[in-house]
């Protein structure tokens, strides 16, 4: 987790995106999580990142009470979107370290950036070449999602389940299966990459929709 480098424009954009549908970094009240991120910013976010700016001004208004806000300040890498790393305050700017020109002659006048880009591309090419033969392990999982009662809106329940997105997760077909007393369970197929998505994570995210979902079970699990 993290927002990238919060002292850079890119990091602020991640923060802005994160805060578009959230009032606070964690939960629904201001906490030490907000203070931790607030203090990592060098300055108020620019006006075009208006979600971040809204959050910034709001947290600023709690400046006097910041010590008494709930929670514990954690490292920046503990907050924010799951698929981003925290790189704020990285001690050495790697651009400055490029005085060894590994891939060119000394006469060439190449800008630091072009050099870095070329090295990055070469590294990517190398890693792609070495990864090619690897086969990605996948599984096909059939999930049973049970509602609270026969009045639960199954269309909305399905919408919620399909809204769960993750790298390595693809939703398949689904059907409603009656289980008695007018109650129907949602049986939905998905294909997952084994090392990216596990049934624990799916269960956690599906049962998070507690207004619709009573429980989730794995009905079938087959290796592809």
């Amino acid at each position: 987790m993290g927002f990238g480098d919060l002292k850079s424009a890119a990091g602020l954009r991640v923060l802005n995106d994160f805060l578009a549908d959230r009032s606070y970094i964690e939960g629904y009240v201001p906490s030490q999580a907000d203070i931790a991120v607030f203090e990592a910013l060098a300055a108020p976010p620019p006006a075009d990142l208006f979600h971040a700016l809204r959050w910034y001004n709001h947290i600023k208004s709690y400046e006097k009470q910041k010590a008494s806000l709930p929670g514990v300040k954690k490292a920046l890498g503990k907050y924010g979107p799951a698929d981003v790393e925290d790189t704020t305050g990285a001690a050495t700017d790697s651009k400055d370290d490029d005085d060894i020109d590994l891939f060119g002659s000394d006469d060439e006048e190449e800008s630091e950036e072009a050099k870095k880009l070329r090295e990055e591309r070469l590294a990517q090419y190398e890693s792609k070449k070495s990864k090619k033969p690897a086969v990605v392990a996948k599984s096909s999982i059939l999930l049973d999602v049970k509602p609270w009662d026969d009045e639960t809106d199954m269309a909305k329940l399905e919408e919620c389940v399909r809204s769960i997105q993750a790298d390595g997760l693809v939703w398949g077909s689904s059907k409603l299966v009656p289980v008695g007393y007018g109650i129907k369970k949602l049986q939905i197929q998905c294909v997952v990459e084994d090392d990216k998505v596990g049934t624990d994570m799916l269960e956690e995210r599906i049962t998070a929709f507690e207004d619709y979902v009573q429980s989730m079970d794995v009905a079938a699990f087959n290796k592809i």
């Binding site: 578009a20 009032s23 709001h58 909305k156 919620c160 619709y212």
Partner: protein
């Protein structure tokens, strides 16, 4: 109407016992008091309850805050309750979405009666919005989701789902 006032009473921690009636075609709520003619009107009764519960800060602390709270209470009664066509609803959501772009609460940084009554007033609208509409009025969705999680506000009302994994990333 009266049901909403009952929810407000519970949120404020007031004991039950107030008697409510309705008046006229537009079903304006009336609070019957023991001595006197009775209070008429949602805003009036709500403000009275807030003061009864000694939570005056919910009406705003600074002069400006108080004015903004009144503005949105009036908006709730005239625009939200008054108009009910699809076009009216669209305009209301558009107004609120613009207003909430740089604010966490209707009055800015503090939770007030304006947020409470706007939440109750808009609940029936938000419950029926499609996923795309919730995405379109993103700031209203954020604010509504926040208010419905505020302790004591939602009570028995349905929890409106706002999907956190946005379907249209990088659309803004």
């Amino acid at each position: 109407g009266p049901e909403e006032l009952a929810l407000l009473e519970r949120l404020l921690g007031l004991p039950k016992g107030n008697k409510y009636g309705v008046q006229g075609e537009r079903k304006v709520p009336v609070l019957q008091t023991n001595n006197g003619p009775g209070l008429t009107g949602l805003m009036t009764i709500a403000a009275h309850l807030v003061k009864q519960a000694k939570k005056d800060q919910l009406l705003g602390s600074t002069t400006e805050e108080k004015a903004v709270v009144q503005q949105w209470l009036e908006y709730r009664v005239t625009r939200v309750d008054g108009g009910s066509s699809k076009e009216d609803t669209r305009l209301i959501l558009k107004d609120l979405n613009i207003h909430l772009e740089d604010k966490v609460y209707l009055a800015g940084n503090v939770f007030t009666l304006a947020d409470i009554l706007m939440y109750y007033g808009l609940h029936h609208v938000m419950v029926d919005l499609t996923v795309q509409e919730k995405e379109k009025y993103l700031n209203v969705s954020r604010w509504f989701n926040h208010i419905q999680h505020y302790p004591g506000v939602r009570q028995h009302l349905a929890n409106v789902i706002f999907i956190k994994n946005r379907l249209y990333t990088n659309a803004h």
